[in-house]
Amino acid sequence: MPEEAVVQVGMAEFMVAVPPAKLGCFGVGSCICIALYDPLAKIAGLAHVMLPSDQTSADLGRSVTSAVPALIAALEQAGAKKERLFARLVGGATMFTFAGKQEGPAPLGERNTITARATLTELGVEIRAEDCGGALGRSLELDPVDGTLAVWSAFQYIRWI
C-alpha cells in the first residue's frame, strides 16, 4: 500500500473522506463494513457496524439500521448526492463455528450482512459488490480519488471490488 494517510474507522464508527485521505478498517470479523461512494463528487463514506439493530445504546454507529441513514446524511452534508451513491459490503464473517447442531438465531455476521442489504435497498442505494461471509477476517481500504476498494485477508487474497 502507498503511504497516504489512511484514517481508521473503528468499530461503531462511520466517517466521510475526500482525497487525499483514505478510509480503512483493519481486522474485521462479524462486523459489516458499508462503503458508500459518490463518483462525481469523489466523496467516500465508510461505516464499521457491529450489530443489525440495537436496543442497548443510542450510539448511531453501532447498528446497521441507524448507521446507514446517518452515513448517508453525513455524505450529503459533505456535498455528495444520494442518487449518485452506490454501496459495497465487506465483512459479516462467522469467525467461530461450534461443532454440533446450531440453535437460535443465525450467526451475527450473516444477520449483519442481510440487514445491510435490506437497509440499503430500502433507502434506494444500489449494492454493486460484496465480499462477505465465510470464516475469514478481512481488512479494507477505500480511496475516494476513484472509489477503489481494496480488501484483503490474512492468508487468502487481496482483491479490488
Binding site: T56, L108, L136
Partner: protein
C-alpha cells in the same frame, strides 16, 4: 438473573475480579505446564470495563495473526472465554505439543488444529473448575471453536456478540508466559453483565469481604 448496568466498579470489587482471574489462571497454568512439560507462569490479571467497540490491542496491530480458541460459558455466571497465541509463538507451542514444528506460513493441519483445540480445552476447563469451586457454582464450557486469523477480527467478533445485550463489557485478561521459551498466551474472560452480580456475591460470601492478595 439479576442484571446490572456495568458502571464503574468499586476498587474492592475490581480486586475480587482480579482474584478470580488469578485463581482461575493459576490452575490453568498448572494444567498447561503439565501438558507442555515446561513451567508456565501467569501475569497479574487485569480487570477492566470497556465499551464493546474499544477492542483491546494486546499484540500491536489488529492484523496480527493468532490461533484462537473460543468458548461460550454456561451456568450461573455465563460468559465467554477467548484464548490465543500469536503466529510467531505457535511453532514453539506446537513443537511442545506435537514434537514437530509446523511449516511456516501454511494453513494449519488438522492435527495442529486439534492440538490447539485440546490445549484451549484444558486451559478453559482448569480455569472454570477453579472458579466454580471458588464461587460454589456450576460453570460449563461449550466445545471449543477455533480460528487462525487476524486478532482484530477475532476479538471484534467476540465483543460484538456480547454487544447484543450490553454496551460495555467486563474483561479479565491474564497472560501465560514461559521463562525459557518465547511463549506467551493470552486469555480473556468476558462474563455477561448478568453474571457480575452472582460472581461478586459468591465472592463476598466466601471471605466475608475480599481478601487482599
Amino acid at each position: 438473573m439479576s442484571t446490572r448496568e456495568l458502571g464503574p466498579l468499586k476498587p474492592l470489587e475490581m480486586d475480587a475480579l482480579k482474584e478470580v482471574g488469578n485463581i482461575g489462571a493459576g490452575h490453568a497454568a498448572t494444567a498447561l505446564s503439565q501438558m507442555l512439560g515446561v513451567t508456565v507462569r501467569i501475569t497479574v490479571p487485569e480487570a477492566s470495563i470497556i465499551r464493546v467497540q474499544d477492542i483491546p490491542r494486546p499484540l500491536g496491530g489488529p492484523e496480527a495473526v493468532v490461533a484462537a480458541t473460543y468458548f461460550r460459558i454456561f451456568g450461573q455466571a455465563p460468559g465467554r472465554m477467548l484464548i490465543f497465541t500469536t503466529r510467531e509463538v505457535l511453532p514453539e507451542v506446537l513443537l511442545l505439543l506435537l514434537g514437530k514444528r509446523p511449516r511456516p506460513d501454511m494453513p494449519l493441519l488438522p492435527e495442529e488444529e486439534s492440538a490447539i483445540r485440546e490445549m484451549g480445552n484444558i486451559l478453559c476447563s482448569a480455569y472454570l473448575n477453579a472458579l466454580a469451586d471458588l464461587m460454589g457454582m456450576q460453570l460449563l464450557p461449550s466445545v471449543p471453536a477455533l480460528a487462525y486469523d487476524m486478532v482484530g477480527s477475532v476479538l471484534a467478533t467476540v465483543l460484538a456478540e456480547s454487544a447484543e445485550s450490553q454496551d460495555k463489557a467486563l474483561l479479565i485478561e491474564t497472560r501465560f508466559v514461559e521463562a525459557t521459551r518465547p511463549i506467551t498466551m493470552y486469555l480473556f474472560l468476558i462474563p455477561e453483565s448478568g453474571a457480575l452480580e452472582p460472581m461478586l456475591k459468591s465472592l463476598e460470601n466466601i471471605s466475608g469481604g475480599v481478601k487482599k492478595v
